[in-house]
């Protein structure tokens, strides 16, 4: 999950900074290709690494209720954020604009923290903050990295950090749960 999320964040990099530089269709396809690669890694690792080691479980009613609650809260949150976003881009909002850091936290960190809370996935809080800080960090890094490569630098760095955390957890998991012998 962490590795997939890291690749997902890193895939923002080409879309945000290489669109004008790379030749067509690579400029458009590089982001989706990276997302596809991440998704394939997620599905394959779940099938071949995780399931054979820890088995399969279908959780009961409590977990389903929590999942439903997450979806409801997240939907409400998305609607609120969408309204804020529309206000931001339309004339209705007038001079309504927020600094990069607040925008990042509002539109990315808050939804991810809600998901982290309901799924009880603690690391997602950290990833939410990293992702939310992305635009702000890209803005700051433009001092040392020329525009538009600042986005490439920031999102590859953030994605890279998350992938490294994910790989560390994966290695620990593989060590902790060796492949069991076939059941009797």
């Amino acid at each position: 999950m962490d590795i997939y999320f890291g690749i997902l964040i890193a895939s923002f990099a080409p879309s945000l900074s290489l669109t004008e530089i790379l030749p067509f269709p690579l400029n458009v396809l590089l982001g989706p290709i990276m997302i596809g690669f991440g998704l394939a890694f997620f599905i394959l690792s779940k099938k071949f690494l995780i399931k054979p080691r820890i088995g399969v479980v279908k959780f009961g009613r409590k977990r389903k209720v929590r999942k439903r609650r997450t979806m409801v809260v997240l939907s409400i949150n998305i609607v609120i954020l969408l309204i804020l976003f529309l206000l931001r881009v339309s004339d209705i909002g007038g001079s309504f604009s927020l600094p990069f850091l607040i925008e990042g936290y509002l539109f990315l960190t808050v939804p991810l923290c809600i998901v982290a809370y309901f799924l009880q996935f603690t690391r997602l809080y950290i990833y939410g903050f990293l992702l939310g800080s992305g635009f702000f960090l890209a803005d700051i890094s433009s001092i040392i990295v020329p525009i538009p490569y600042n986005f490439l630098f920031t999102y590859l760095l953030l994605g890279g950090i998350i992938v490294i955390i994910g790989v560390t957890y994966l290695i620990r998991f593989l060590r902790k749960y060796p492949l069991p012998r076939e059941e009797t």
């Binding site: 820890i54 088995g55 479980v57 959780f59 059941e183």
Partner: protein, 108 residues
Amino acid sequence: MKSDESEGKIQILTEINKLIHEPARLMIISLLYVIENADFVWIKGQTGLTDGNLSSHLSKLESAGYVTVEKSIKNKKTNTLLKLSEGGRKAFEEYRKKLTQILGSTDN
């Protein structure tokens, strides 16, 4: 009078479901009670029992009709799916009720 009362409470102990009361089987049933179903590997990982031990306890629970066991072949490997039956659910609830009753009566 008090002696009769405590005798009655102690007698409930003899009515307790011994098939569920065994620690390993209690672990298995408690796990299956809170989920919909799970495979052998997951239950084994959660309980820490060995393959043989878990198989033997599952056979007993299956014979009593408390657990349903579905075997299938997935990627040339045996996959055993376990689920608590309706009878098993009721038996566990009954067991829990009796145990609470007994433990509740142990106050001085």
